[in-house]
């Protein structure tokens, strides 16, 4: 039943680029548990649109710099 999402993300790289922000720091900023940040980074959970915007805002980048969705034709 478990499925990996097709949505990929660059959260890990962006965290390091953003002053080596820890998973705990990001989790605290967006109001979730560290385990949820880990699950998103590993592609085991697709966040809600609202949380996605919060992540992008916390990392100070546009939404599509954080999350990518593969082209169906590719």
């Amino acid at each position: 039943m478990g499925r990996s999402t097709k949505v990929t993300n660059a959260i890990r790289a962006l965290r390091f680029a953003h002053g080596e922000m820890t998973q705990a720091d990001l989790a605290a900023r967006i109001g979730v548990t560290r385990q949820t940040v880990i699950a998103i980074e590993q592609g085991r959970y697709s966040p809600s649109l609202e949380m996605a915007f919060q992540i992008a805002r916390a990392l100070e980048v546009p939404l599509d710099a954080v999350f990518q969705y593969p082209d169906e034709a590719a």
């Binding site: 039943m1 478990g2 499925r3 999402t5 979730v32 548990t33 699950a39 966040p47």
Partner: protein, 148 residues
């Protein structure tokens, strides 16, 4: 592991354990008499009571484990009632359990229509309740581990 996930693990242990003890008591009695003559009301009340008490103890143990782990890691313990992922996983588990509960209710209704001894519908509902609890907790743990 969050406190919510630890609590789900506790539930996953408690439901089968209580069910195993209950049905062992019932089947032990049934060794020397027909199932319809087995005394099941008191064991079932004990089973429900134990279920509630053990789940409460599981929540307390989860909170203690969360506090100790955070203390060791030098972090602030998170005792909150889960975030959006926890809530989504909970809804997913409950939806799975609903199917089993409905099936149990349906079978129990059929048994009542057939006017069988009340032992059968009561224990069908009890078993369905236990299985629903196991399915809910098992689905949630699977979702936590492999994704949703």
């Amino acid at each position: 592991m969050t406190m919510t996930e630890r609590t789900v693990w506790a539930t996953l242990v408690v439901f089968p354990l209580v069910g195993l003890v209950y049905f062992t008591v019932i089947l032990t009695q049934a060794a020397d008499r027909p199932l319809e003559e087995v005394s099941w009301v008191t064991p079932m009340l004990w089973a429900w009571g134990s279920l509630i008490v053990f789940i409460i103890l599981g929540v307390i143990a989860s909170a203690i484990a969360t506090g100790i782990k955070a203390e060791v890691a030098g972090e602030k313990p998170d005792f909150e009632d889960g975030d959006e992922r926890d809530k989504l996983i909970e809804r997913f588990g409950n939806a799975r359990a609903y199917t089993m509960s409905s099936l149990g209710g349906f079978v129990a209704t059929i048994l009542l229509m057939l006017d069988v001894d009340r032992f059968w519908p009561a224990n069908t509902l009890f078993l369905a309740g236990l299985l629903a609890g196991v399915i809910a907790a098992g689905s949630r743990i699977h979702a936590y581990r492999t994704g949703l």
